[in-house]
């Protein structure tokens, strides 16, 4: 037992249970009829059907990207279920009518939805496989004109907003997975913050994949009108299956003049077992448009799950003096692969961006940071600061940093710093010799390493993120 690191990594995944529930699941496979069927099931307006079909036809002409440093067998897109929803017992009017099995499931995941138990300062939209099952505090938020609901519901109640903004930031032809998502997305969250409104609580969406054969394709759209503020958090888990499930989401954010959007992700998908079998393929496109002057979008992500992570939450800084931020902690263990980072596209004058990325690789995993900083020709006085730190635990893990910098304006200023450190057996032994357990040792070192990022998370979740990372490591350091 030479391995203190070994002991730390092998902790079982806590959210791996399957909910036994009757569902409305369409047959596997994808073609135009399936796209129409999804749209029909949701009774969508015509513009949505057209949007989906355009995306589907576009997708057919595209190839999946080969540039990320991840490897996986080709995905058979005909072997995936594109729509699976728990069967509603009857038409729901309030949360009390949500199937108790679903409420129980979310409660087990630490997301109580019922009136008595729910978190007091966080509004939650709970998504189970392809559909949203409940949204809390909807009415209370509506009093201030804030819209927080599932995107399906928004398509019925606020179609003009969806038509105006959907695909604005991530066009259907943006990339292979974005095109697929645009064709088949089944649900997701919609947030609209009116002018000069400070959203009084954290908004949160919790994604749960239950069906072993279904993919999850959710779509999130957040629009912050001039002078508004919103802080949003998404969380995710999935049961443990031997097979890999596809999760291809698209998130679009739009911030107008002086608006601010903080978007945080604590991702804990099932990552596969110790031998790399099973787990979620997480191929996600997230992008924020700082359209207005002085607007600000910040992405904070804590990535611990999924077998493969492919995502680059980005900011397009169009408005003068707008600000983009990206704070990321990505932990990979066993045979997980992560190729993640960001893009900061400076278009407007005096735009600023900050990138802080912390990658932690354990076991046989591979963790790559990939980031683009682009200063456009009109972005006078634009500035970027990037810091990419990697931490390796044990001898078999890998870390890479791929910074891409394109500067087309002489007044731009771009700084990039990178470091790599290693937690070895000797450091762990040093802690142990002082009476500190391996778990405490690893969590102290990791908290220290990630402090810059955790400080950016909403209070409630900073503690959670810290705990999550320690849990992930238990049984793995040695």
């Amino acid at each position: 037992m030479s391995s203190s690191v070994q002991t730390l990594v092998n902790r079982p995944y806590k959210y791996g249970f399957v909910t036994d529930i009757e569902s409305d699941t369409i047959p596997k496979g994808l073609n135009e009829d399936v796209v129409r069927l999804i749209s029909a099931k949701k009774n969508e307006p015509q513009f949505m059907v057209d949007f989906r079909l355009r995306a589907y036809r576009q997708w057919l002409t595209m190839d999946s990207p080969t540039w990320p440093t991840v490897t996986y067998p080709p995905i058979n897109y005909q072997d995936i279920v594109y729509y699976s929803a728990p069967k509603p017992k009857e038409k729901l009017k309030s949360l009390d009518q949500v199937d108790p099995t679903l409420l129980e499931t979310f409660e087990k995941l630490g997301i109580p939805l019922t009136e008595q138990k729910r978190l007091t300062n966080v509004a939650v939209d709970a998504i189970f496989d392809s559909v949203s099952v409940a949204t809390t505090f909807k009415e209370k938020l509506a009093e201030q004109g804030i819209i927080f609901c599932s995107i399906s519901e928004a398509l019925h109640h606020h179609p003009q907003l969806i038509e105006q903004y959907l695909g604005r930031v991530v066009p259907i032809a943006d990339n292979y997975f974005a095109a697929l998502n645009s064709a088949v997305f089944s649900d997701g969250s919609f947030v609209y913050i009116p002018k000069n409104t400070h959203c009084p609580m954290e908004l949160s969406t919790y994604f749960r994949i239950n069906n072993g054969e279904s993919g999850q394709f959710e779509r999130t759209l957040i629009v912050a009108e001039s002078g508004s503020f919103v802080s949003y958090l998404e969380g995710c888990t999935a049961p443990m299956y031997d097979s890999n499930q596809l999760h291809a989401a698209v998130v679009e954010l739009v911030a107008l003049d002086n608006a601010e959007i903080k978007y945080a992700t604590v991702q804990n998908w099932y990552a596969g077992d110790a031998n790399g079998k099973g787990g979620i393929y997480n191929f996600v496109t997230k992008r924020g448009l700082c359209q207005g002057a002085n607007s600000k979008i910040s992405w904070t992500q804590v990535e611990t799950g999924s077998a493969i992570t492919w995502k680059y939450p980005s900011c397009v800084l169009v408005g003068d003096h707008s600000v983009g931020e990206f704070y990321s902690v990505a932990l990979t263990n066993h045979y997980q692969q992560a190729d993640t980072g960001t893009k900061m596209i400076h278009v407007g004058k005096n735009t600023r961006s900050t990138i802080i990325s912390k990658g932690i690789s354990v076991g046989h995993s591979n963790n790559s940071y990939r980031g683009l900083v682009k200063i456009g020709p009109k972005a006078d006085g634009a500035r970027n600061y990037s810091q990419c730190d990697s931490m390796l635990i044990g001898d078999n893990a890998g870390a890479n940093t791929f910074p891409y910098i394109q500067v087309q304006n002489q007044t731009g200023k771009v700084e990039h710093e990178a470091s790599t450190s290693k937690i070895g057996e000797d450091q762990l032994f040093y802690f142990q010799q002082r009476g500190i357990s391996l778990e405490d040792a690893a969590s102290m070192m990791i908290s220290g390493f990630c402090r810059d990022v955790f400080n950016k998370l909403p209070m409630e979740f900073a503690v959670e993120a810290d705990r999550l990372l320690s849990l992930k490591l238990e049984g793995s350091v040695g």
Binding site: M1, S2, S3, S4, S421, E425, D426, Q427, F429, Y430, F431, Q432, Q433, R434, G435, I436, S437, L438, D440, M444, M445, S447, G448, F449, R451, G478
Partner: protein, 263 residues
């Protein structure tokens, strides 16, 4: 855990054999240390001195292949490294590790509280602990600013060794093993460190020094000096043995041992 041990023996090592990467290093080592005693193990490079200290502390890279170690009446080899530490065994490292991102103060507090927790006692909060640790700084003449820096990061060789003794002062071990604590120290730092150790040595505790040179022993006077060679204790004597070694070299012991004069 309250082991009531009436005997004065703190550490008893019998016929210990151990290996690293399959290569035997310790080849039948015997040693007994009682309360209040200060022992020194000397010996040439590669004799197994540092291996012995790592084996006592339970470093995972060192495999014990035979023999027994009893510490305060318990089978030491059955304990995990942190359990050994909590039961009162302390190793001052030859090369203290740097831990970026973890403040010295946090490190010390978690170490201190881990022991309290294992003993079923209430842990100290940050404020109480701060008072406690500041009271100990003077033992090694350490500036309070070291507490807020990352553990050993950017410390000079002497500062690292002083930090080790500060940890010792805080954890109050029953047996402190000082592995080449004198290496890399100038004479002033050596005096500070030695003075710290002397202040912490009380009749119910013991110290085991591992050293290549005699000079540390000018400041921490041992009751016993053991000479180690090829993974065994070759000979044992009083503090004068160290002086003899210093002037005549290890060959002198080897020659004497062959004719059976030593001891």
């Amino acid at each position: 855990m309250t082991i009531i041990d009436e005997s004065d023996v703190i550490l008893s090592v019998k016929d210990l054999t151990a290996e690293v990467d399959g290569i035997p290093i310790l080849k039948g080592l015997n040693l007994e240390i009682k309360r209040g005693e200060i022992h020194a193990i000397m010996g040439p490079n590669g004799s197994g001195k540092s291996t012995f200290s790592k084996v006592l502390a339970g470093h995972p890279a060192y495999g014990v292949t035979g023999g027994t170690i009893t510490f305060l009446g318990e089978d030491l080899l059955a304990l995990e490294p942190q359990e050994r530490a909590i039961s009162g065994l302390f190793l001052a490292f030859q090369y203290p590790l740097e831990i970026p991102g973890v403040s010295n103060l946090d490190f010390l507090r978690v170490a201190y509280n881990s022991r309290l927790k294992a003993q079923g006692k209430p842990e100290l909060d940050a404020l109480d602990f701060d008072d406690l640790v500041r009271g100990k700084l003077d033992i090694v003449k350490m500036d309070p600013s070291f507490l807020t820096r990352s553990v050993n990061e950017g410390f000079s060789g002497g500062e690292k060794k002083r930090n080790e003794i500060l940890q010792m002062a805080l954890l109050e071990p029953k047996l402190a093993i000082l592995d080449e604590t004198d290496s890399g120290l100038d004479i002033d730092a050596l005096k500070i460190v030695a003075n710290g150790v002397n202040q912490l040595t009380t009749p119910d505790k013991a110290v085991l020094m591992i050293t290549h040179y005699q000079r540390l022993l000018d400041y921490i006077i041992p009751d016993y000096v053991h000479v180690m060679e090829s993974g065994r204790i070759l000979t044992t004597g009083g503090k004068e043995l160290a002086l003899e070694l210093e002037s005549r070299g290890y060959d002198w012991i080897r020659d004497n041992e062959l004719v059976g004069v030593a001891e």
